[in-house]
């Protein structure tokens, strides 16, 4: 499978401390978010993917390339780490330029590409200043510029939106989306679940070094049997609708929305419930919208992991 990022039965132990255990993944193109509390193994998974750490067991391949072959791997991979340290004494431009020079790119092309990357993260004005004098947000942006400078097919971004102002966040998200739309693999770790929810095509939920769920949010949500699915139906007469809905055998619970313009209901089987809903005689109740209320990352995260250490 040369078009996927593959983890086959991968485990990583730091001495006796577990990093990740028995991870099996096949990551397709698009934006994939790694979600989990601190210490769940997100960064370890990213470091394994980029060869910064070696697996204690198992095999990893990034689009068919082994992670112990940096010469080939980093032609297609860019990694923005959380390590907040840089080679001493370099300016922002020198940092990106040196990175590109190490790739063997000729001087003039490296200079041009470095400036393009710096422009992409809006750091042109600060490019000739030493990185040591940068703010946290600027350091984050220069790290992103390094990861994106050589237009990699696979971008591994550890907490890429940390320290960015709202405008910069929006720009970065747009950049990730455009890259994903162009067929790139964007792997993001984040604590900020609403952002993950907005940008991700698929998620990998981690807890204590184990992958507890992976795939598209809705698919993951549907696999969680012990929590009934919540659906919000917006309508003009919610009480009448609630009474009608109890005619369906798949209904468990219904409550009137606080603005009195909808019904929030819980069902054991969403697909069958939708079918049954079509067959109900609604006696002229105007339905405005029907939408799942808990197939977002936040809900899935809460169901599977709990609500520790996340930012909503």
């Amino acid at each position: 499978m040369n078009d996927r990022i593959i983890f086959e039965d991968v485990s990583k132990f730091y001495g006796e401390i577990l990093g990740v255990n028995r991870v099996n993944l096949s990551i397709p193109p698009g934006i994939t978010s790694l979600v989990g509390p601190n210490g769940s193994g997100k960064t370890t998974l990213m470091n394994l993917m980029t060869g910064l750490v070696k697996p204690s067991r198992g095999r990893i391949q990034v689009l068919g390339i082994k992670t112990d072959d940096p010469e080939r791997l980093f032609k297609i991979v860019g990694y923005s780490t959380q390590f907040d340290a840089f080679p001493r004494g370099l300016t922002g431009f020198q940092f990106i330029y040196s990175y590109l020079s190490l790739s063997g790119i000729p001087t003039q092309e490296a200079e041009r590409t470095a400036w393009e990357a710096i422009q992409r993260v809006n750091l042109v004005d600060a490019a000739s200043r030493k990185i040591g004098a940068y703010s946290k947000g600027m350091r984050q942006r220069i790290r992103l510029a390094q990861a994106l400078a050589h237009n990699p097919k696979v971008m591994v971004l550890d907490e890429p939106l940390n320290g960015l102002d709202p405008l910069a966040r929006a720009e970065m998200i747009a950049l990730f989306r455009a890259s994903a739309a162009a067929g790139s693999y964007v792997i993001i770790s984040s604590h900020i679940l609403h952002e993950v929810d907005v940008i991700s095509d698929q998620v990998i939920l981690l807890s204590n070094g184990y992958v507890v769920a992976e795939g598209q949010i809705q698919t993951v949500r549907n696999e969680i049997q012990e929590h009934p699915t919540q659906i919000l139906i917006r309508c003009d007469r919610p009480r009448e609708l609630a009474a009608k809905l109890f005619e369906s055998e798949y209904m468990i619970e219904a409550s009137i929305h606080k603005d009195d313009r909808g019904v929030l209901l819980k069902t054991k089987d969403a697909d069958r419930f939708y079918l049954a809903l079509n067959q109900l005689a609604l006696n002229g109740i105007q339905i405005e919208s029907i939408a799942p209320a808990d197939d977002d990352v936040l809900s899935v995260y809460e169901y599977l992991i709990g609500n520790e250490e996340v930012v909503r």
Partner: protein, 366 residues
């Protein structure tokens, strides 16, 4: 080596040189390299002052003297004979010695010292009473002795301490320094083979240490030659193999940087605490003369000592251990010594190469 690797090696060297030459924590290496230069400058200044003094004494003399004139004074000559031969002395010091002969009784012995000079070499004539008791000519230049002093400083300070610790400071920090700075991932995230990265860093370290220590070696030679008169300088350089020795010392300096550099590069990768490997290597190099022939070959100093152009003589009465340290009992031929150092360095680099491929970024454990 393919073209890409060479381009990458050059990029690594550019980055590393900047760090190595201008790192604040590396300033002591310049100081260590400058110490022998300062020593020879101080020596040259002292010798230069002495030459000025000799020239002044020669000027103050009654007549111009030659070196042969100075050698003409022999013990037993009278004061008048000396004055007749060399003229009135420009420096004349006398004192009286009171030698006890019994309770409350003394003999008074008249001492006198004349000093003459031909402008470079000084003659000291000691009189007791009216007779010459001793005549001592102090040469301005003793090329053989000076060359041995230079060799001693080179072998016992420059090689064993300055280059040794300088290489420790540079090569051990090539990887370890970046682990401590938490910036090694910058290199590990670039499309560079780890062995190429290691090679680039080693060459950068070599370039830096060779620049520092070869410059120091050249400056030491210049300072050493500074007080020589042009004639003495020509004599030393072209007839006493001075030029050849200077070139050999530069070559030995470069080989020392290669050997110790490779040793400390691998040590910096294998050990977290640099003091332990440094102490082990220092002791290993120090006990080299006492090791069996086979083990001797696994040290750098064994080959370097064999390459040094001037052998330091062991004076009679030198303690056994010290004599063993000075002497080179089983020297190897120059080609074998060069190959030996390169083989030792190659083995160390092969181990480094294996080690760098296994390295992981795990700053929290450092």
């Amino acid at each position: 080596m393919n073209r890409l690797w060479w381009t990458q090696v050059k990029a690594v060297i550019r980055l590393e040189l900047k760090k190595t030459f201008f790192a604040k924590r590396g300033l002591w290496i310049y100081a260590v390299a400058a110490l022998p230069v300062l020593l020879f400058i101080a020596y040259a200044i002292a010798m230069s002052n002495q030459q000025h003094r000799s020239a002044r004494i020669a000027r103050d003399g009654e007549k111009p003297l030659s070196y042969q004139d100075l050698l003409a004074v022999k013990p037993g000559m009278t004061k008048d004979q000396v004055v007749a031969t060399l003229g009135r002395p420009p420096v004349d010091i006398h004192w009286t010695e009171r030698r006890p002969t019994g309770p409350g009784a003394f003999d008074e012995i008249q001492h006198q010292r004349f000093q003459y000079s031909d402008g470079q070499n000084d003659l000291f004539v000691e009189f007791v009473g009216d007779k010459v008791e001793g005549a001592n000519v102090q040469d301005a230049y003793n090329l053989g002795e000076d060359a041995i002093v230079f060799a001693g400083v080179f072998q016992f300070f420059f090689l064993r301490l300055a280059i040794f610790f300088g290489c420790l400071g540079v090569f051990m920090n090539l990887f370890r320094g970046e682990v401590l700075d938490r910036s090694l991932h910058f290199y590990f995230l670039s499309p560079v083979r780890r062995e190429v990265l290691m090679g680039g860093k080693f060459l950068a370290g070599l370039l830096a240490t060779c620049t520092i220590f070869v410059t120091s070696e050249i400056l030491q030679t210049l300072a050493f030659l500074w007080h020589f008169s042009p004639r003495a300088r020509d004599l030393y350089l072209y007839h006493h193999h001075g030029l050849e020795h200077a070139a050999t010392y530069v070559g030995v300096t470069i080989l020392a940087c290669i050997g110790y550099g490779a040793f400390f590069l691998v040590a910096g990768m294998l050990f977290r605490n640099p003091i332990i490997p440094a102490a082990v290597i220092l002791i290993w190099e120090a006990i080299n003369p006492f090791l069996p022939a086979l083990l001797k070959q696994f040290s750098v100093i064994y080959y370097l000592k064999s390459l040094c152009p001037v052998e330091i003589p062991v004076s009679p009465g030198t303690p056994g251990l010290f004599a063993l340290l000075i002497s080179n009992a089983n020297p190897v031929s120059a080609p074998l010594a060069i190959i030996g150092i390169l083989v030792v360095a190659f083995i160390a680099l092969a181990v480094s190469s294996f080690q760098v491929k296994r390295m992981e970024i795990n700053y929290t454990t450092e």
